[in-house]
């Protein structure tokens, strides 16, 4: 298996297990990953109604520790890291001076001076190099930065029955593990970091642990979950699930030229925490207003406005779809797109050019899907 660049794709510790399970494999971010097992729709619905298990070991982990760890992360990321207590996590962005994201990430605080970041697979090396390069402190004594991605497998157990399935296998009371918190836990007999996080819009958990234990943890979770209707789920369902929940995907909604404000990520932009990379650019944009804005749409005409398709308003091309798909739970054709701010707002309509023909779409409030609160 090689990528289009001719470089061999990386494999997670579960590669053979996925192949044995009959998964269809694709190259994603330099990794050979399962895109689907039984089918995207079935896997998607399993996660919404019961539970699904994802191998997300391709995700990267970067450790930042030392007396200046907090200061470094405050400077490089947009969210306020000082608000995190030990064993809390927060969604954030690694910033460039233009106010755009080098990557989006989840910052986990292990203690006063210890953190780890979960970052996108394709960006791991770039992020690591970027953090080293933009570290104003003394490397080693003030702050130690390590790419520890190879030390971890990561599994995501997601869905309304995830807690029930996991509780029988975890030596942690999951009731006390709140959303966006984590702790050291033994699951399936293996110790690791257990976080109540995810990328599906459902309740769920992400477990970081030693790759050598991957097959046994994967199998135990699948077996325990089977009577509950848990299915192994691939990147195909992961994408449609995150799209229904309107979570951005780096490379689609986010890149190093799109600012956080344009991407509706004002909520992870903390103005009062002190200076950080990109703050000035963002403050300027907050003052002058954004020129383009990320919006959600539903197709009115038949067809699916897919990634990259042009958007037309009043007879002029003026934007692009960043992610578009059939939404298996909502049973609608939905998508995210950037449009000029004056044309952004729920209820406004535009056209999407689908293979030479224009089809109407209407903007709708985000997210498309919000899980019912228990």
């Amino acid at each position: 298996m090689t990528t289009s660049t001719g470089i061999e794709s990386k494999r997670t510790a579960l590669n053979a297990a996925h192949r044995r399970a009959g998964a269809r494999m694709v190259e994603f971010g330099g990794w050979d990953m399962p895109v689907e097992y039984s089918g995207i729709v079935e896997e998607h619905l399993a996660v919404r109604k019961r539970a699904g298990l994802f191998d997300v070991s391709h995700m990267g982990e970067i450790e930042v520790r030392g007396p200046k760890a907090l200061a470094l992360l405050q400077y490089l990321t947009s969210n306020d890291v000082s608000r995190l207590k030990a064993f809390q996590a927060q969604y954030s962005a690694l910033m460039n001076p233009q106010g755009s994201a080098v990557d989006d990430c989840v910052v986990h605080r292990l203690g006063e001076t210890e953190f780890f970041l979960c970052v996108n697979a394709a960006n791991t090396d770039k992020d690591f190099a970027y953090i080293l390069e933009h570290n104003p402190f003394a490397a080693g004594s003030d702050v130690e930065i390590r790419n520890v991605s190879k030390c971890y497998s990561q599994l995501a157990l997601q869905g309304p029955l995830a807690a029930e399935i996991l509780q029988a296998l975890a030596e942690t009371d999951l009731h006390s593990l709140k959303y966006y918190t984590f702790r050291g836990s033994v699951c399936c007999g293996v110790s690791g970091w257990l976080a109540r996080t995810g990328y599906t819009g459902e309740d769920g958990f992400e477990f970081y642990f030693a790759p050598s234990e991957s097959e046994s943890v994967w199998q135990m979770l699948l077996e325990k979950g089977k009577p509950y209707g848990l299915l192994p789920a691939g990147l195909g369902a992961r994408n449609t699930l995150r799209l229904e929940a309107a979570y951005p995907l780096y490379g689609n909604e986010l890149d190093d030229e799109t600012t956080l404000l344009e991407a509706n990520l004002g909520w992870i932009t903390k103005w009062d925490k002190g200076d950080f990379l990109g703050r000035e650019a963002l403050a300027g944009q907050r003052e002058s207003g954004v020129k383009k804005k990320l919006v959600g749409f539903e197709m009115l005409d038949r067809g699916i406005g897919r990634d990259g398709y042009p958007i037309w308003v009043e007879g002029k091309p003026c934007g692009r779809v960043t992610s578009g798909s059939y939404a298996p739970f909502l049973k609608k054709n939905i998508g995210l797109a950037y449009v000029p701010s004056q044309h952004a707002g729920p209820g406004q309509e535009f056209e999407i050019e689908i293979r030479g023909k224009r089809a109407r779409a209407r903007q709708v409030p985000l997210p498309f899907y919000k899980r019912p609160r228990a």
């Binding site: 089918g39 195909g236 699916i304 059939y326 298996p328």
Partner: protein
């Protein structure tokens, strides 16, 4: 797996010729590659289709694929169930999941198509990827 009485294209369409008319669909291999099919676009009855040109599209959750017409002719019927139940292309691609029926313009166009055995051989060669 692949009906003997059908003919097949390299783009994974099948055609079942019946006198001067023929039914067209996509193959089991094609539906499997695409995954869950959620949308099918076919031409209206009365429109012309041309050999090796797109006659419509089949969309799955993850991809959209052109369906290339194996023959030139006029569309005389479209599968009435396919709009409401595009998943028929997944569950029964060689039967209930047919797409259109055409009146052939030139029957000799079918001579270059593959038989079931040839198509299976063709798939075997291609599966090295």
């Amino acid at each position: 797996m692949y009906p003997q009485e059908f003919l097949y294209t390299q783009d994974h369409e099948w055609i079942r010729v019946d006198g001067t008319t023929a039914s067209i669909g996509i193959t089991e291999h094609a539906q499997k590659e695409l995954g869950d099919i959620v949308f099918v676009e076919v031409p209206q009855v009365g429109s012309q289709v041309t050999r090796k040109e797109s006659l419509g599209t089949v969309e799955s959750v993850k991809a959209v694929a052109d369906v290339y017409s194996p023959v030139t002719g006029e569309v005389i019927a479209v599968n009435p169930k396919i709009q409401k139940a595009p998943e028929l292309v997944n569950t029964d691609p060689h039967g209930e999941g047919w797409l259109v029926r055409v009146r052939l313009k030139d029957r000799s166009e079918t001579e270059s198509l593959m038989t079931a055995d040839e198509y299976e051989e063709y798939l075997k060669k291609g599966s090295a990827h």
